[in-house]
Amino acid sequence: MKISNIIRIFVLSFLVSAGAMNAASAEPVWYPLPPEAYKFGQRYPDAQNLLFAFDYGHALVYERLLLRRGTIPNPEAFEKQLIQDVLKILKNPPHIKVEEQDIAPNYVFTFPLTVNLFDWSHMLHQFVLDILATSVDRGDGMKARVNEIFKQYKANTPVVITDQCKTMLFMDGHYFSKAFRSQYPSFNLLIWSYHWFQIKLYEALMKPAQQERDVAVNKVTQKFWDLLSNLPDSADFDMMPETAVEAPTFAAMFPRIPSAFDNNHMLHDITSDILTSDKVSRDQIRTEAVRVSRMDQDPAAFKSAKCPADKP
């Protein structure tokens, strides 16, 4: 073989592999990780560990609802036990990102698309926090960096949750809707408190000065514990907290991201409902999970006419 041919093959294979590296992957693996990845936790370890504990808490409730499906004689006692177990984890949270597969292998196996969407979306949540916590430039530079990450997120189309605003009917308009909320009201408020905490962190990190950000993150963390202090009374949410409402400064700078987060949070509630409602048979769980996950990806499904980001 001529040397020129060898070089040509080498260049071709390099281009193919480089193309593959740039192409978005269907697997929820963010590679290479952004340089800011998990830097939020270095500045705010308590808040970061709480976020890891939320992942644990979400996975645990899904796993138990699935394992105990149809065999929960006393929902009140079940909820009490669940809250007790999750509070233990929140008060003594993991210091590493725990694989959902290790906590909830049955749930992960039954909800593959939903889990893919959550995983990918949670990485966006995390990296936005990381950028907001570490960016020295608090203006255009930070904005550009977040938008760059958002663009990378959206490039992985097979597992992207749409950033189009959806109405609350997406969460509450199904034949199985609100089952979890009505059977386990305290735990539902705990989950909404998780979501409130996540959203409020974005707003806290929008403060211009480092000291202000530190104070704001501490305040949000303290308020989160207040919300949990005497459930259900302590968390006074009538509806799922929305990003644009709770984090207006963040929403003004990044108008498309709030909907992406809210759509993720709604899918969490929908998953809880599917697992709780006796209107969904065991055989239907997989199908329903895929159906609603596809809706979460579809910008046309339950599209809201009142999306601030759509205004010219």
Binding site: L82, P93, I96, K97
Partner: protein, 218 residues
């Protein structure tokens, strides 16, 4: 001074040796000031979950469930009065620092067991083979600070293993334990079992944790 120069000329590796000794002693000093002593690692052994349920997923059939209950007793004396430690320097491209390896053996109280189908087999000891990564200087929540490999050993009241210490001179197999539950813990705050494996009479099966609440047998 002249004499000193003479020695250095006579021993060209002298400075190099001094540098290496300096680096080693600095590293050891760091280990002494930062790294905890052996009893610190015993805590992990005592925190191993006392009850857990697992299953081996089986396609097209009912999964095989198993669970254990245990209660820690005393360390295996005299070797494991305290856990054993060994510090290993990292090798590039890994970050500069060192890994701390630790090992521990604690006997279990009578009544500890693993339930496999209708068999209740006595669990006799815990063997821990762990690694403390904190001295590598890479704070990253995707890279665990600790990796704790847990062996819950059945049927061996001497806790001799995992390798036959005199093998092959002492005959038989290289490994000693024919039945145990193995898992890895990556965060001692939650002691969550991951990478579960069941070895039953030398045959091995991959398992997953089943947390249905309360740790009660399924």
């Amino acid at each position: 001074m002249k004499e000193r120069k003479k020695i250095m000329r006579a021993h060209p590796g002298f400075i190099g040796v001094l540098v290496i000794m300096g680096v080693c002693s600095a590293r050891m000093a760091r280990a002494e000031t930062i790294a905890p002593s052996a009893p610190f690692y015993r805590d992990f052994t005592m925190k191993v979950r006392k009850v857990a349920n697992f299953k081996v997923p089986v396609p097209g059939s009912a999964d095989f469930s198993f669970h254990y209950e245990l209660d820690q007793s005393t360390p295996l004396l005299p070797t494991f009065a305290d856990p054993l430690l060994s510090d290993l320097p990292s090798v590039p491209p890994e970050p500069q620092g060192y890994f701390r390896k630790f090992w521990d053996k604690v006997l279990l109280k009578d009544g500890s067991y693993v339930q496999l189908g209708d068999q209740k087999i006595p669990l006799t000891c815990i063997f821990i083979s762990g690694q403390d990564n904190r001295f590598l200087g890479v704070p990253n929540p995707l890279f665990p600070e600790y990796l704790i490999k847990v062996y819950l050993v059945a049927n061996d009241y001497t806790c001799t293993g995992p390798v036959n210490p005199g093998w092959p001179a002492t005959g038989s197999k290289k490994e000693t334990w024919d039945t145990y539950i193995y898992y890895e813990v990556r965060d001692p705050t939650i002691m969550l079992p991951t990478e579960v494996k069941l070895r039953y009479r030398w045959a091995e099966y991959t398992g997953v944790l089943v947390d249905n609440g309360g740790g009660a047998p399924l």
